[in-house]
């Protein structure tokens, strides 16, 4: 297992190296530049040229890339062109918000998706099955921004029971330990802050969960239907094992393997979904910051954030593979 983990971690080096080259090529091809986004519309050509020079953007791409690699080697991802703060600092400031939102969305998707998929499979052809399959198709097809708009109109504007924006109500005082509002609130006993944060997570969480929920429902349903037809399930039933034992140990345990894999992949995809969701809900995470960085051509933020997200994606998939081996002894044996 250790060799497996080390091998996967070593794969990070060429992955990130290739990605960084792609990013540099992509950024060079992006039209416009920070000198147009950062200075007012009436800035002179000289002022824009001076800004490019002061940002080092007048150097050849290779020189810029080598300077970037030199900084990376020192653990420095550069400085945001718009805020003047270190990219790592900006990431660490915003990352907890995205983690909280993504975990909420994934919890909603998993806790609702697996039982729904399972029930749909159990009652194949029933109203529930048709609703689950149709609903999941709708979930995949509905654009997140549209769902977000509807959710806000109903629950924030009409019913007034949930906030439409932000991570906490303005003026909320809290003790910041890790940046994770809910976790910090639980640790310090500030339950009003926890409740406030959960209310703010509800709508963006549901909006962001819509696609993974739909995928998990369909995946679970298909997987369960496949497994119940297997010989070992028939054998387990024939042996007279208790129905719940068959369901949990033989059906669900095997049916969950592809679902767990998809959860890993979907967790990575949540970060891209968060870009839109965070913007729509003014949720101050890395997604909304990347969106703004794209608008302002903040190259260091775009490069740094995407590399950090890619690193996390690799780690998440590593965790998925480890959990896979725990669920399936055959993988361990290999």
């Amino acid at each position: 297992m250790l060799r497996f983990i080390v091998r996967r971690l070593l794969q990070l080096i060429p992955t990130l190296g290739g990605l960084s080259i792609l990013l540099f090529v992509w950024l060079q091809r992006l039209p416009g530049g920070p000198e147009y986004a950062l200075l007012p519309d009436d800035a002179t050509a000289e002022q824009r040229a001076e800004l490019r020079r002061s940002l080092g953007l007048d150097e050849p791409v290779m020189v810029q890339y080598l300077a970037f690699l030199r900084r990376i080697a020192q653990g420095d991802l550069g400085t945001s062109l718009t805020t003047g703060r270190a990219v790592t600092e900006e990431f660490l400031t915003r990352f907890p918000a995205t983690v909280e939102l993504s975990v909420t969305a994934m919890l909603i998707a998993v806790t609702a998706g697996i039982p729904l998929g399972y029930l749909a499979a159990r009652r194949r052809g029933s109203v529930l099955d048709v609703a689950a399959v149709g609903g999941s198709l709708l979930g995949i097809c509905t654009p997140v921004f549209f769902l977000a708009f509807i959710l806000k109109v109903v629950f924030a504007e009409k019913l007034g029971i949930l906030p439409s924006a932000f991570r906490l109500s303005p003026g909320t005082n809290r003790t910041d330990l890790s940046g994770l509002v809910v976790l910090d609130g639980l640790r310090t006993g500030e339950f009003d802050v926890v409740w406030n944060a959960l209310l703010h997570l509800a709508l963006p969480g549901v909006a962001l969960a819509s696609i993974p929920l739909a995928v998990i429902v369909r995946m679970t349903r298909a997987s369960v239907l496949e497994v119940v037809g297997e010989d070992y399930v028939r054998t387990a039933n024939a042996k007279g094992l208790h129905r719940n034992t068959v369901r949990t140990r033989h059906v669900m345990r095997n049916a969950l393997l592809p679902v767990v894999t998809s959860v890993g992949l979907l967790t990575g995809a949540l970060f891209s979904g968060a870009v839109l969701t965070e913007s729509v809900f003014a949720f101050p995470g890395i997604g909304s910051f990347i969106y703004e960085a794209t608008q302002t051509r903040d190259y260091p933020v775009l490069t740094g954030f995407i590399l950090l997200i890619a690193t996390m994606y690799v780690f998440i998939n590593l965790l998925v593979d480890i959990s896979y081996s725990l669920l399936d002894p055959r993988v361990r044996a290999q």
Partner: protein, 555 residues
Amino acid sequence: MFAKSSRKPLALLAAAAALTLVATACAESTRDDGGSDASEPFVFASAGDIKTLDPFLTSDGETFRYSRQVFETLLEHESGGSEIVGGLAEEWEQSEDGTEWTFHLREGVLFHDGDELDAEAVCANFERWYNLSGGYQSSNNSYYWQSIFGGFAENESEDIPEPKFVSCEAPEELTAVITIDEYSSVFPGGFSLAAFGIMSPSTLEAVADAEISGEEGNYTLPEYTQKAGTVAGTGPFTVQEWDHDQAAVTLERFDDYWGDPAGFETMILRAIPDETARRQALEAGDIHGYDLVAPADVDPLTEADFQVPTRDVFNILYMAYQQEANEALADLEVRQALAHAVDRQRIVDTILPEGGEVATQFHPDTLDGWSPDVKTYEYDPELAKEMLADAGQEDLTLEFCYPTDVTRPYMPAPRDIFDVIASDLEAVGVTVEPVTYEWTEYIPKTNSGECPLYLLGWTGDYNDAYNFIGTWFSGYNSEFGFRDEDLFAAMEEASGNPNDEERVAAYQDLNEQIMDILPGLPISSSPPSIAFAPNVNPPNVSPLTQENFAEASWK
């Protein structure tokens, strides 16, 4: 094994769905529209988080919205208007040649940290700005200083202009004299820019050694610009906290403020970049006001009892003719024909919010220098057709650029405006080829002269005609692609004339000349709106978007 399933989950799901539907159908908003506790924070949503606590270092409008509540400038614009009035200086005068500006400061003005305002404090600010070095000299970190006062005591790059600032002296405790190398009409307006907010002597002492660290392309702003506790101004609010996690800046009322105390105890500025999200947050009661209201949202918000005051116009939208990008546009008759082809009143009536007006020249009529005698180009498609035929351009084809991803205060709906103009041009036989760009690509394309026809505009920084027409027509400009050395020289001469009367007359004459040669077609001036909850007494809205939120309060 699946035969005996429980119906409980299905029933629960159905019940939940039914409850949601019933609740939604019967829902009335539970938003609190009533009066508010005086201590409740006033929450205002802006389009972006602020960039720095030191306004000198930025050209960002959202940062200036914050800084105008915390720092004050020597001169200001009148509340709700564009006239220059006293700020920290009660009175001021200029020398005959316009190079010496004497400011008589208010008595008894305190900074938030207890320091007293005097001429030494004012000069310490100007001397600091003039002597900045290193990363501070990047145009990203000193844009307005370079635009108004030129360069620094020791310029570190050839691209930085020569300094116009000469000295600041304090002959008396409350008298500061600022000397510049030659008169320019950017003064006195330049002294009112938010970037030149005066900080306390203690602040200046604390930040004296604060460097913008890092090498080129990797500058990090010093800590005092990112964390509340160091900077102190004289404004009606103090900075309590800048919470980067929440993209929120909390301001507290300054009880020792020299003027009327702020109406709110606490004001919180929060960033909501998305236009629709800002409106929904106001409707949901999450915020109490926001700026950059979409014209289409003005009526629905007003009908729902929200307050949507509209600012006086202080901007201009124009359609530029780039004469080098299409040789047909170098012909004055063609440019005039296109001007007659466009029904600008239709744009104002159908697209702009109430209060919008057709522009007859390249700056709004609120500025001195506006001329009633410019050549106007009335909508006359028949005349346009005749003129195009006379010029031999009956089959003219023109590329027309417009941006896709932005709205600007002067250009609330670029696509809609393009559609109206394109249909008018096609009605007189011009074939229009639309070219669209995202904003960050649009500006370089139009700046470099690649678009023959395009839409652009400007919102003024201060009350001077040069801030509009001087920006475009004081020299060769690839945005328009024409040379008229006489016009350029006359513009510079007017700007350098310290005699107000003569300068205004010169600007009027220049406006007439510009509309004769018609380098572009001024289209409209559009009034931007700002929205407030029903329980707020809004501040006077400013045509320069410089609202003083100390004037606002709970009802």
